[in-house]
């Protein structure tokens, strides 16, 4: 019998126990499956539970490890994958009714790489339909129902990697894989009080993943510590001939993240946000953010107030995502199945965007280049950006999300338009004991530095160790 707190251990801790044979991958997998049966329906966290696959992979891992063939830190660790990553012979719904019966015949590269690392697939995790790329206004815009937050199931998990956020926070998986076009890794990480890492665009192959917006989609880990994010990212990174946009920057550059202590000479820019004047901003979130900044400064990190380049990054990112997504999902407009989506406005996106011309899209591409230049210049002065993730805690699942989250995303446009990596770190609790979070965004391929800062922060705080009491 495994004690409940074991399900909340980090990947690093689980891996150590598995490697030293103090913990059986089969028992751990069975334990997570039992928890999934008990808790996942309360959270709408899973689209499909792959019990047979999981037990088979766990038994294989146990046999191999028993023979001394330990593959590495993910060997025997159970995980869940967002339901837009193809899994051979396993239903892959993309969170949407028009695609609810898809059964791919090939694994996504990420799924294959995780299998090669010995990780155990517990199931496919719920998500916002089509990863929200056609827009969504309500938490229930998902085939699996609204993502319910383990800290309060009447509140939203965030999206679009909703099930990934819930499953990690509720101790239903050892770690989860999510994706982000704009906010879909950082948002559920923030609202569910877990650690998430949005990698640099191109760091992780997207072959076999649903395309939302070609030049924005990223795949990354949601886990229980910064160290875990690195372990997972190392296993899924690298150039893939099946994804022409995957980068050939060596995976070994991530190794710097294994080192202890702050990255030498790292200079962080603090982007001040006006909580007092921002509609919907909550003072408790500011208090938690100020506390995190003070903690990092006390640890020796250089943080100074700075201003981001004055540039309409959100407009550029928003327009390009809209154009790319409308092209991606064109088929569903053509055959009328877009009307099966749960979001009442998504079917009208094409009509709403009718005024968007080809010249506008090309102009946005040219502006994106200007923004990249400005950010290259910015990163000559600073190595990273520290800012709150959201200015309020997770909203109710019952309301209009645009009304519940009325403020703009301060760095999301820049971060996603430029393909920058960012790590979300839990930093306290706000209203009604809901988690708060902040992020550190870096320059391309500097995930190692972000992880090092995250590890230092998490060695001095316990927020990442807190669990929702209902699921303890």
């Amino acid at each position: 019998m495994i004690a409940d707190d074991v399900y909340y251990l980090t990947v690093a801790e689980l891996g150590e126990r598995i490697h030293s044979r103090k913990l059986s991958p089969v028992e751990l997998t069975q334990g997570y499956l039992d928890r999934i049966k008990r808790y996942a329906p309360k959270l709408n966290a899973f689209a499909t539970v792959t019990e047979d696959v999981a037990l088979e992979q766990a038994r294989a891992a146990e046999r191999e490890i028993g023979k001394g063939n330990y593959r590495g830190p993910l060997h025997g660790i159970p995980y869940g994958a967002k339901d837009l990553l193809a899994t051979a012979g396993i239903r892959t719904t993309w969170g949407a009714k028009p695609t609810q019966n898809q059964v791919p015949d090939k694994d996504a590269t990420v799924v294959r790489m995780l299998r090669d690392a010995g990780a155990v697939l517990l199931g496919k995790l719920s998500m916002v339909e089509f990863a929200g790329c056609l827009g969504y206004r309500f938490a229930d815009s998902s085939l699996q129902g609204p993502g319910r937050n383990p800290w309060d199931p009447e509140r939203w998990t965030g999206g679009s990697s909703s099930g990934t956020g819930a499953a990690v926070a509720a101790g239903l998986v050892g770690f989860g894989i999510g994706t982000e076009t704009w906010g879909s890794i950082l948002c559920p990480s923030a609202f569910c009080g877990i650690t998430g890492l949005r990698p640099t665009y191109g760091r992780v192959s997207r072959a076999g993943g649903m395309v939302g917006a070609y030049t924005f989609d990223k795949i990354g880990p949601l886990a229980r510590s910064a160290e875990d994010c690195l372990l997972i990212l190392e296993a899924i990174s690298g150039h893939d001939p099946d994804d022409a946009t995957s980068s050939s920057v060596p995976v070994s550059r991530l190794r710097s993240g294994r080192s202890a202590g702050l990255p030498p000479g790292f200079r962080a820019a603090l982007i001040p946000l006006d909580f007092a004047k921002t509609k919907g901003a909550e003072p408790e979130v500011k208090t938690a953010f100020d506390g995190a900044v003070a903690e990092l400064r006390a640890a020796g990190l250089s943080i100074e107030e700075a201003k981001l380049p004055d540039f309409p990054a959100s407009e550029v990112a928003g327009l390009l995502i809209t154009a790319e997504a409308l092209s991606t999902f064109e088929k569903f407009y053509a055959d009328g199945t877009v009307w099966e989506l749960r979001d009442p406005y998504a079917p009208y996106q094409r009509e709403i965007s009718a005024g968007l011309t080809g010249a506008d899209v090309v102009k946005a591409w040219r502006m994106r280049s200007v923004l990249q230049d400005k950010m290259v210049e910015f990163f000559q002065r600073y190595d990273g950006i520290v800012t709150p993730n959201f200015m309020s805690v997770a909203p109710s699942i019952h309301g209009d999300l645009n009304q519940a989250l009325p403020y703009s995303d301060p760095v999301g446009g820049i971060g996603n338009a430029c393909g920058l990596p960012s790590i979300a770190l839990p930093n306290g609790f706000g209203k009604e004991h809901m988690p708060t979070s902040f992020q550190i965004m870096g320059s391309p391929f500097q995930e190692g530095d972000l992880v090092r800062i995250g590890k230092v922060y998490q060695s001095r705080t316990r927020f990442h160790r807190e669990h929702p009491p209902q699921f303890a």
């Binding site: 309409p312 009328g336 099966e340 406005y345 009208y348 005024g355 040219r366 209009d400």
Partner: protein, 99 residues
């Protein structure tokens, strides 16, 4: 536990109203007619009539796009400024002399 918002109540009401309306349309003849309609024009057959609330939101989103476009179109760039991606011709693998 938070209470449903008034907006949600309204949405539920609209859903219930739609369902009760749908009940009137479930006779075999009307179902057959609906199937014929769908086959004739798949897109239009599935299309839901936009409620005033949805029309209002569409107008809001259209305005938001117009605002975005105003910013994009108004941004000054020199002719020929670079794009954020580079097109690369693909090299064929064929060797000369092979058929």
């Amino acid at each position: 536990m938070s209470k449903p918002t008034p907006r949600m109540k309204r949405r539920r009401f609209v859903t219930l109203a739609a369902l009760s309306g749908a009940a009137l349309l479930t006779s075999p003849l009307s179902r057959a007619m609906a199937a014929v309609e769908r086959a004739r024009s798949p897109v239009e057959g599935r299309r839901r009539a936009a409620s005033p609330a949805i029309r209002k939101e569409i107008a809001t989103q259209e305005k938001s796009l117009r605002d975005q476009l105003k910013v994009i179109r108004g941004y000054d760039l020199p002719p020929g400024s670079p794009m954020a991606f580079a097109f690369e011709p693909r090299i064929a693998a064929r060797k000369r002399g092979e058929s």
